[in-house]
């Protein structure tokens, strides 16, 4: 009797900015079971990420610096990605910053005069999402027939936050700090709805990683975060949690 052949691996492209680093470390450490996927990274860190754009239907680097960053992160010589290049695309981080969205929205909605309808929330959320280039690229890929997911940049890390530096994002919105699951739920739903309408699966930050309304638990700070006052990036353990949520969504 002939042995059953293994199903072919699905090709997965994880597109993002510097947050790809924690995912790479999580995968390298075997914190996530990626069997069944042929995984490739594509993107650029820091300012170079802003130099990636949708040109002639593909996501491409617009400058030599960005092109160099892309090749370094990808490691397989892929200068650009197009909707038909992979079975699945996962946009990870990619500048869709929850720390920019959640605190002002939750603060507003917690005010006595701040209740808003679902329709208003949807309109505000759509503006926020479509204001992020990577989100627009993800939507374009989905429109072109690709299977696409989006995991946003997580909330700032508690215990690391420098309130002076993060004033615009966090300190000015104290009512948001008291938010809990029920208050965040409509925002996650609104984000999910906006992406779903464009054919993109949205993967929210897991609720059990969030504390004090609008922060990621300090447990998920990467090594050296306190010294570097790095409120943005997260540990491989956090990336593993996110990836498991992503895999659950795409399975």
């Amino acid at each position: 009797m002939p042995s059953q052949s293994k199903p072919p691996k699905k090709t997965l492209c994880i597109i993002g900015d510097s947050h790809l680093g924690s995912v790479k470390r999580a995968l390298d450490a075997g914190l996530v079971d990626m069997a069944g996927f042929d995984t490739e990274f594509w993107g650029a860190q820091g300012p170079a990420f802003r130099q990636l754009n949708l040109i002639d239907g593909a996501y491409r680097a617009q400058t030599p610096q960005a092109a160099e960053a892309v090749l370094q992160i990808n490691g397989r010589g892929r200068a650009h990605v197009a909707p038909g290049d992979f079975d699945i695309f996962l946009f990870y981080g990619a500048r869709l910053r929850m720390a920019e969205f959640m605190p002002p929205m939750l603060h507003h909605m917690a005010r006595p005069n701040g209740a808003i309808s679902r329709a208003v929330l949807a309109a505000a959320t759509e503006r926020f999402v479509r204001g992020t280039r990577a989100a627009r690229v993800a939507m374009h890929f989905a429109e072109a027939g690709a299977r696409v997911y989006f995991a946003p940049t997580p909330l700032f890390t508690d215990g690391v936050i420098d309130f002076e530096k993060a004033r615009w994002a966090v300190r000015d919105f104290p009512l948001a700090w008291a938010a809990d699951v029920p208050q965040r739920a409509p925002l996650w739903q609104a984000l999910s709805d906006i992406f779903a309408a464009a054919g993109v699966g949205f993967v929210p930050q897991p609720e059990d990683t969030i504390c004090r309304g609008v922060f990621t638990k300090a447990d998920y700070a990467p090594e050296g975060a306190l010294d570097a006052r790095d409120v943005v990036h997260k540990s491989p353990e956090f990336a593993a949690l996110m990836m498991r949520a992503c895999l659950a969504a795409l399975n």
């Binding site: 002002p104 929205m105 006595p112 005069n113 309808s117 208003v120 929330l121 505000a124 503006r127």
Partner: protein
């Protein structure tokens, strides 16, 4: 003194004050009771024309309070669509004194306001502002939460402000015959409720009842904020339609005359109430209707500019020139601009014209 007229100023006499000046040379039409400066916190409510006043004040750097700002990220066009930043509160147009008093009672929880929600095609509509959300609310809870937000905004705005600018719009209104709830607009002319002749009652308020209602509203406002002053104006915009047996033109004259008299009487009676004559500047025969659009109803921007020119000139004449406040220009929340963007729900009635 041969007679008491001899010592009067030129403005007391038609020939030097009006005939020799011409419509665009008039001055001193208003002698304000109190100074209104960029440092004052101003809230606006009322009929469509009040939107012009709030815009002009904002443009001059006056401290117009947006007590119910749009949420972050909401685009300007959407903010306008959802009626944010048009008045100080998200009430929509408040055409009648009865609606003003009803909103104040809700905000300050004084007196009973009947409870009524409209529902149509699975959507929920607020009879106090049925077009505040273009497609209605998704749930009754959502509607009630939104109304609570507006009530809180009114309460906060009234307690915080130094000045309320209220534009009187209509004497004609509709109410629930059983409960007495006053509707913003006639049921059946907007989504949410079918018109029921047994339930929905027309009321063309007379002077005495309007004076009583405005007196109650003013007392309620001052009880919440003893420093609050009130500037009344009368909308010069004619009725879109009348539910009286009169011709709409004579019904307009009746309605506006009653409101004009009411505003004048209130300004005479209460030291903290003033009347600004935007109504006269647009409608008086001296101006020969020059500020009306061809439909003889809509007011052109030139009219608004002339009105506000008188406003600021007369303030400066009496109290001196006020420097704009830079801080006042940074107002929270999205605001809606653009001449075509006035939110006049009463226009809905136009769709029902024969």
């Amino acid at each position: 003194m041969a007679n008491p007229y001899q010592s009067l100023h030129d403005t007391a006499f038609w020939r030097p004050a009006v005939a020799e000046k011409g419509p665009l040379g008039l001055s001193g039409l208003w002698t304000p009771k109190f100074r209104i400066g960029p440092q004052d916190k101003i809230i606006t409510a009322g009929s469509c024309f009040a939107q012009h006043i709030s815009r002009a004040l904002r443009a001059r750097g006056y401290n117009w309070l947006n007590a119910e700002p749009a949420p972050p990220f909401l685009p300007k066009a959407a903010a306008q669509q959802f009626n944010y930043g048009i008045f100080s509160f998200r009430t929509g147009n408040i055409y009648t004194p009865a609606m003003l008093l009803q909103w104040l009672r809700l905000a300050f929880e004084t007196g009973d306001v009947p409870d009524e929600i409209w529902q149509q095609d699975g959507r929920f509509f607020d009879p106090l502002r049925p077009v505040i959300e273009p497609d209605g609310f998704a749930t009754e809870a959502e509607l009630r939460a939104a109304r609570q937000a507006t009530q809180a905004a009114i309460a906060q705005g009234v307690k915080t402000a130094n000045l309320l600018v209220f534009t009187l719009g209509l004497t004609e209104g509709w109410e629930n015959a059983q409960t007495g709830l006053h509707y913003a607009l006639c049921p059946g002319t907007v989504p949410g409720a079918a018109f029921d002749p047994d339930l929905h009652r027309f009321n063309n308020a007379d002077f005495a009842s309007l004076a009583r209602i405005m007196g109650q509203a003013l007392r309620l406002l001052r009880a919440q904020n003893p420093r609050l002053r009130v500037l009344l104006t009368v909308s010069p915009v004619p009725l879109t339609a009348t539910a009286t047996p009169q011709h709409v033109l004579t019904a307009t004259s009746h309605s506006k005359s009653v409101l004009r008299a009411l505003a004048g009487e209130l300004a005479l009676k209460y030291r903290y109430v003033d009347y600004f004559p935007s109504y006269e500047i647009i409608t008086h025969p001296v101006f020969r209707g020059m500020f009306f659009a061809p439909n003889m109803r809509s007011v052109e921007q030139a009219g608004v500019d002339t009105v506000m020119g008188h406003f600021f000139a007369d303030q400066a004449r009496v109290f001196g020139v006020s420097a704009p406040s830079p801080k006042a220009k940074e107002l929270p929340g999205a605001t809606a601009d653009g001449e075509d963007d006035l939110r006049c729900e009463e226009e809905m009635l136009g769709a029902f014209a024969k």
